[in-house]
Amino acid sequence: MTVSEIFDTMDYGPAPESAAEALAWLVDGGDRFGHFIDGKFTDPADGFDSRNPATGEVLATLTQATQADVDAAVSAARRAQGKWAKLPGHARAKYLYALARLVQKHARLFAVLETLDNGKPIRESRDIDVPLVARHFYYHAGLAQLIDSELPGHVPHGVCGQIIPWNFPLLMLAWKIAPALAAGNTMVLKPAEYTSLTALLFADICREAGLPKGVVNIVTGDGAVGEMIVAHPGIDKIAFTGSTEVGRRIRAATAGSGKALTLELGGKSPYIVFDDADLDSAVEGLVDAIWFNQGQVCCAGSRLLVQEGVAERFYTKLRARMETLRIGNPLDKSIDIGALVDPVQLATVSRLVDEGAEGGQVYRAPGPLPDQGCYYPPTLITGLSPAATLMQEEIFGPVLVGTTFRTPAEAVEIANNTRYGLAATVWTENVNLALDIAPKLVAGVVWVNATNLFDAAAGFGGVRESGFGREGGWEGLHAYLKPDHATKVLKPAPAHKKPDEPQVTDPLDRTAKLYIGGKQARPDGGYSRAVHGPRGAMLGHVGLGNRKDIRNAVEAAHAAKGWAKSTAHLRAQILYYIAENLSARSDEFATRIRLMTGQNAGLARAEVEAAIARLFTYAAWADKFDGAAHSVPIRGVALAMNEPVGVIGALCPDELPLLGLVSVMAPAIAMGNTCVLVPSQPHPLAATDFYQVLDTSDLPGGVVNIVTGDHAELAPTLASHLNIDAVWSFSSTDLSRVIEEASAGNLKRTWVNNARTRDWLGTAGEGREFLRAATEVKNIWVPYGE
């Protein structure tokens, strides 16, 4: 077109970013790449093509890792780990700082390579992905610097296996590698097979930074390589970002292995627009929510909820905005929507929409699609009910589904009507409404009048089936650290045997019952078992709880969830009151412990005193486990709020029947959780005595439920229960594998002892480790300014 013609049409014209430098880098590598193991690239071997999804062209040939490759990478990481962890934090900080600088120096190369490989618009890789990567390394250089002074008593896990997705290849690499390095771990990372190129370029800059060999190892390949990493006995921690389906498999595969695990999985995040919102800005926000990275974003605002009174106006504005989205060559600087990552993904999105759109009104942006490449038009589907598949399932494409609501309460109800819980967005000009709604949304991240804001200083991660663990911020660092406790193998603690001749110490029968919903309840099965002392004395009977008792207890725990909304001050008062009432009966409890366990009187008394002190500890913590206002680079705040996990099921330690129960109960309820406790299996009577203490301490019914019984029988029920949010096990029966396997059903959080002891009387028996397990960090981003 001539200048004078353009003067008439006012078209944008092409504005291509040059791919020359990135292509030259590939050519320099021979267009074939091996793995990065022990500081060197291996020779390229059999593998697969990496293609540009915008054109279908082959960019390079990559190597499919074999078991031997993975073994070599894990060995290299293992060899490097001790020395890396022993470096002062400052030394690790210098390496992280160097990586940050190198990412910035090669910023455009990274951005172009990412766009070639992934299909995302260059605007995004250049302005969002790569700057966030550099920021992540800078931030974690700082954490490495501070870790020695700020987190004493913590050690790295060791060797981490990290498996990352294709939607933000380099950014997810940074989110995995930076905190792991800061904390002193070494790693074997596997990028997604569609998008490994920037990881290989990153390997190059690790060499430039002089990172000790073996600290970062990168192996390429498909899911089979991921499985090798997950199953590898030489790996201490798995961190995975990807689909919920694969996350569930990893949970099951790592069950009982003792590997730590964090999962960042899928989402169907609600995007709520109230009628007093700045509608134009909320429409623009949707561009960043669902048409960012072609909608291939785990936290995409993919479920639009609009208040009914403004819905039609909002949809009209939204459709008009969709018309100006520009789809095409991702390397063009004026492109909003690039290519989906692969023909397979394009087929998946197409199929989901074709099969699921029935009953809804489908609007597709009218612009033409390029003739070739994996393009899908921005799509809005309105009029679907919450029951529709597309309202429930993650599409992972540029497809928005919309529905309406009437009231704030209904908005919350619809928003939370999902298996996922990653992110949520709220638009309103009413600060009262925003700050009321944000805590009620089941999500790890909430954005107020904004969406898809990310920063290294703020934790990111989900609840429910969106996974567990946080990435970013101090909270994310803990995913790569563990408390440095000395432990031993925990031997099973058997119940004392019944003697040949029945012995009755007290002819007045006292039958301990279950404690459910603040009431004593007979076990559903109608069975009980005798509890004997070490010399056979019959101390009483205890109910044998079964799965129905667990069901009832969980229902009672849910009915008591108002506890989470009670003030921390009130929770503290009640914990103090429990301590007070326990103290009044300390002789009785000491005697009970002595008779059950055979401990001497002094130790039994010490256990009671420790339990009273522990109640004080968590009464103290109840109103002091503060959240944070993260220093994120916006005019606004990211409020990291510690929220209760929900309903916690716990198998209490066998060895200390009172202190063990109190040690798991008190942090749980101090943080606002409700719980179902299965007390010491061999010595349950301290717990059944204890419910009388609870009964007299103003604790609302259902906040603590006690189901006595067989740990091995009750653990699977607790762990597979889809309405329990976390299961802890400190049982001396090794149930770690059973619990972690069964927890995959709803991906509840688990905290198991892996058959290791814990010093319940010492510092390992209380503190922040327990509080962190009892809470989820929710980051609420509130930009402000008038």
């Binding site: 077109m1 004078s4 353009i6 003067f7 092409p14 302005d127 134009d280 800005s281 904004a450 930009p783």
Partner: protein
């Protein structure tokens, strides 16, 4: 007589004839009160826009030429003289060196208007006779708008009588700051009536309105009262045209058009001095309002030094060498 409008603007055209004027409507307080403007979100949109749209090579040259046709070439100085205004009008008639236009394959272009104080209107009208370039007069006690109301209305009438075809009025900021929307509406309606056939641009002085919400509401009220254009600033406030203010105002224009069918023009004024900024403004308008608003009947830059930078960029485009200011005739 006005010539027929050409989309290219290369032929002399008066903007008034290309679409029906905004007749205004009754003040709708429900609508005004419901208007929201979220500052952070608006700023984010503006901050990312330059990275989302890029205009290069011939496209950039064409866009810059279009920008020139949308400039209200302005002098509003106490030391304006007949000679100074005549010189400015000459520049308005031929804003770009002929050899550059020839190299670009472009016919003649001129700026959107010349904008002066009332006393300079006859001079400008005479200097622009036969060109089709309208003369705009700032009015109503510009820039503060605090002279006696009858005098402000009379000032409009005299400027129209002197040949001004466009009147840039200033609103009473205090009506906005005190939420007296009825007073703002009445004032605007009276100014509009006084303009008669001349087009009226309502200067909101956004730098003095405190909040974007106020900017949005003031924009809407002025359109309801019949403004043909809404304009950011006098150029005399400490903060003049900004992208966030512009986005707020053009979204108000879009809403008004959607609900009433009437198109109102937009004029950012003050502080836009670089060709690159002009491109961002044009892409903002294109994105939010569409191509129809990229013509001088619906879009103007209030600018004095912008033209010089565009001329240098155009010469650079033609020659490949960076240009110098003295190579281009001054206005």
């Amino acid at each position: 007589m006005q010539t027929e409008h050409s989309l290219t603007g290369a032929v002399t055209a008066l903007p008034q004839v290309t679409h029906s004027r905004n007749p205004g409507m009754a003040l709708d307080m429900d609508w005004v009160k419901s208007v929201q403007a979220n500052t952070s979100a608006i700023e984010r949109r503006c901050a990312t826009l330059p990275g989302r749209r890029s205009v290069k090579k011939d496209y950039q040259a064409a866009w810059l030429l279009r920008a020139i046709t949308c400039i209200d070439l302005t002098t509003l100085s106490g030391d304006d003289t007949v000679g100074r205004v005549q010189r400015l009008c000459a520049k308005a008639r031929q804003p770009v060196r002929q050899d550059i236009l020839d190299a670009l394959g472009m016919g003649p272009i001129h700026t959107g208007a010349v904008c002066v104080y009332h006393d300079m209107v006859p001079t400008a009208v005479q200097a622009l006779a036969g060109t089709g370039i309208p003369v705009a007069a700032v009015s109503t006690g510009f820039p503060a708008g605090l002279s006696p109301f009858p005098l402000r209305v009379q000032e409009i009438r005299e400027s129209v009588a002197a040949g001004a075809e466009e009147i840039d009025i200033v609103i009473s900021r205090r009506h906005v700051l005190t939420g007296n929307w009825q007073a703002l509406y009445d004032e605007m309606a009276e100014f509009r009536a006084a303009c008669g056939p001349a087009h009226v641009k309502a200067i909101l002085a956004t730098g003095e309105l405190g909040t974007l919400r106020n900017v949005a509401r003031a924009s809407l009220v002025c359109m309801m009262a019949g403004a043909d254009f809404i304009k950011t600033s006098t150029g005399k406030e400490s903060v003049n045209a900004t992208l966030p203010v512009s986005l707020t105002m053009i979204r108000a224009i879009r809403d008004y058009h959607q609900r009433t069918g009437h198109r109102v023009g937009y004029k950012p004024a003050g502080g836009i001095s670089k060709a690159k900024d002009a491109l961002v403004y044009l892409s903002l308008i294109k994105e939010e309002l569409g191509n129809r608003w990229l013509l001088p009947d619906l879009f103007r830059f209030g600018a004095s030094s912008l033209l010089g930078d565009i001329e240098r960029q155009l010469e650079h485009h033609v020659t490949g060498a960076y240009s110098a200011g003295w190579r281009h005739p001054m206005g």
